[in-house]
Subunit: 166 residues, 2 copies
């Protein structure tokens, strides 16, 4: 059970723990080599102006054991913002207690409070346990959509073309 | 050629045209029945506080002929925001002039100016001409990820559970 777990938004002093969780999650996703973020980056993004994202911690007593990092997206069809969950992570030894579900409930409640039309997130296609869990909550995959990403030298090449626009 | 096309951020007086473009795009995507947005919704999202999204118009002379609506997402691995392109649309009679490419160039340039790590968007999997165009720009599909969405009654059910959190 998760009744001994509390959720709370983070403060600036939690930044090192956020970065530690991001690295833990990357390791689980077999993507640890891709983590370039620094504490300074996270401090600017989570507490700067503009603020690009928000974080909530799940804690056992005072100890953070999981987190969710999210930001707002926007549905032009609904005309309303949504919440996009970028990262959800619970420490391995704390799994099976409903902590991930508690974090998702918190996000769903926050979405309703902010008049958001939906809550979305992505999962790696080999992560069958998570997919089964998400489907049990009533989430549906958007499998008719493909996401494209432009980054690195391809982004720089497109963005640095000569253009008549100021 | 697109040399007679200019790009400009929108003002509040452009909201009716934004909504008209959103409806045109929905018709092209065979999703017109899903458009619930009002001018009031868009005015709040594009010019309210917080601002949830931004729009740039492509114009032939004074006449808007296409648009892009975007917002910021955030990469925890990069520690940097990105730009997410939610809608890109060019009027059918204006296609083939490089206007979509001009809008993407503007977005890529804006991403670089704002120190964003990437530019992302989604495309319907049957839209082969667009997919070929995006790949020609160096964009890569994130096909190992599946996006899940929780909305409507499933969102309300999860968000309204009893919880010990305040």
């Amino acid at each position: 059970m998760s009744t001994d777990i509390t959720l709370r938004p983070i403060g600036r002093h939690d930044i090192p723990q956020v970065l530690a969780f991001i690295r833990d999650l990357a390791r689980y996703e077999r993507l640890e080599h891709e983590v370039l973020a620094s504490e300074q980056d996270l401090s600017e993004a989570l507490f700067g102006e503009p603020r690009y994202a928000e974080v909530v911690f799940a804690c056992l007593g005072p100890k953070p054991v999981g987190f969710a990092l999210f930001f707002h997206n926007f549905s032009t069809f609904k005309g309303r913002p949504g919440i996009y969950l970028e990262d959800l992570y619970v420490q391995p030894e704390m799994r099976g207690r409903g902590i991930g579900r508690r974090l998702l409930e918190w996000l769903a409640r926050t979405a309703l409070e902010r008049r958001c039309s939906r809550l979305e997130w992505a999962v790696l296609d080999w992560n069958a346990p998570s997919i089964a869990f998400y489907e049990s909550l009533g989430a549906r995959p958007l499998d008719e959509w493909r996401t494209f990403r432009l980054t690195g030298s391809a982004l720089e090449q497109l963005g640095r073309r000569e253009s008549p626009d100021s």
